[in-house]
């Protein structure tokens, strides 16, 4: 059972596994692999705690109901699956500053916190603008040959590659 405790698999083995998993999400649940809608539902549920039922009347939340659904449980499962995998391999560890970030910007926790926060805001905003993320468009949509998903996935990487080069080759 060495494969269970390995720190890293071949990217092809993991990728083929994800492809096969997508067959089963469709067969069992009639759902594509996806993640970002659940963050929007979470935002709606949190807003509901403060502003009550009227949140459900907002145009966006009429289309994306602020409630726990299949995908929300799926995303919760991701946390659990990654936890199990990293515990089995001993790769689990509390870490504030990723290595590449530390090399460029040092180990100030707050700098990394606010970068992650602002990056997260753009990411969440962009994902819901585009109607999907690296999973929903990048994997599930492209395999369905959807034009919307190929356009999105290509733009994710154009924006990402450009910004990463600005961050690491211009700013840093």
């Amino acid at each position: 059972m060495d494969w269970l405790t390995a720190v890293q698999w071949s990217p092809y083995a993991a990728g083929i596994g994800i492809g096969i998993l997508s067959w089963f999400t469709w067969l069992i649940s009639s759902k594509p692999i996806g993640c970002s809608t659940s963050f929007a539902r979470t935002a709606g549920m949190i807003e509901k705690l403060f502003r009550g039922k009227k949140v459900e009347g907002k145009l966006y939340y009429r289309e994306v109901k602020p409630e726990i659904d299949w995908q929300w449980m799926f995303v919760l499962g991701i946390i659990g699956g990654a936890l199990v995998s990293s515990l089995l391999s001993g790769d689990f560890g509390w870490q504030w500053i990723p290595g590449k970030w530390e090399m460029a910007f040092g180990n100030n926790m707050w700098l990394r916190f606010f970068a992650a926060l602002s990056g997260g805001i753009l990411l969440g905003f962009g994902a819901r603008w585009a109607g999907g993320c690296t999973s929903g468009h990048g994997i599930s949509g492209t395999m369905q040959l959807a034009v919307s998903s190929w356009v999105s996935a290509i733009c994710f990487f154009i924006g990402g590659i450009a910004m990463a080069h600005i961050i690491f080759n211009v700013i840093a």
Partner: protein, 182 residues
């Protein structure tokens, strides 16, 4: 019965998600360094994982659809929605260093920048989009609308005329990455 089916589907969601999280973590993409390495074009793990998933998934899903087992639902879109939203996503992707799926995996991996700032940010950004959605929806999200178009329908050919060559091209691209030592 209906309520029970829904509950069972929630359990399936959790179980299938656990497998996805396991595979993401084992592939290495729950790590900031791996994702940034991809965006800096020095580490191609993300692309290798994604393309092998896409080829495997594409072949299986379309075969299952031909057999009448499943009905695929390609998402509708437009240039204003997918190109503009995609670019905004990309900027955030590079600043955060995780995406919505891999951040869930990063949280399970113990990464505190993901658990705190990253997670809060994505929820805030999603809520912000929900707040401005009515005006976007009346304008830019409809610009250059093409609906739930697929590549085979765009090219007016049978889907396998796209699937087979695309699988070969993507597989060759992966072989090329390996021979180039990337």
């Amino acid at each position: 019965m209906k309520a029970q089916t829904k509950k069972i589907q929630l359990v399936w969601g959790l179980l299938l998600g656990i497998i996805f999280g396991f595979l993401l973590q084992k592939s290495g993409v729950t790590k900031y360094d791996v994702i940034i390495g991809q965006l800096l074009l020095t580490d191609f793990t993300v692309l290798k994982v994604m393309l092998s998933a896409v080829v495997t998934g594409m072949l299986g899903l379309h075969l299952m659809q031909n057999l009448g087992w499943i009905k695929l639902r390609p998402k509708a879109g437009s240039w204003g929605k997918n190109a503009v939203g995609g670019l905004i996503f990309g900027l955030g992707f590079a600043i955060l260093g995780y995406c919505p799926g891999t951040i869930a995996g990063a949280m399970g991996n113990g990464y505190l920048d993901a658990i705190t700032g990253g997670f809060i940010g994505i929820v805030l950004g999603s809520g912000l989009l929900a707040a401005v959605y009515p005006s976007l929806n009346a304008g830019i999200l409809k610009k250059g609308y093409f609906g739930d178009l697929t590549l085979p329908r765009f090219a007016r050919v049978n889907e396998w005329i796209v699937i087979i060559p695309l699988s070969i091209v993507l597989t060759l691209l992966l072989f090329w990455l390996e021979t180039a030592g990337l």
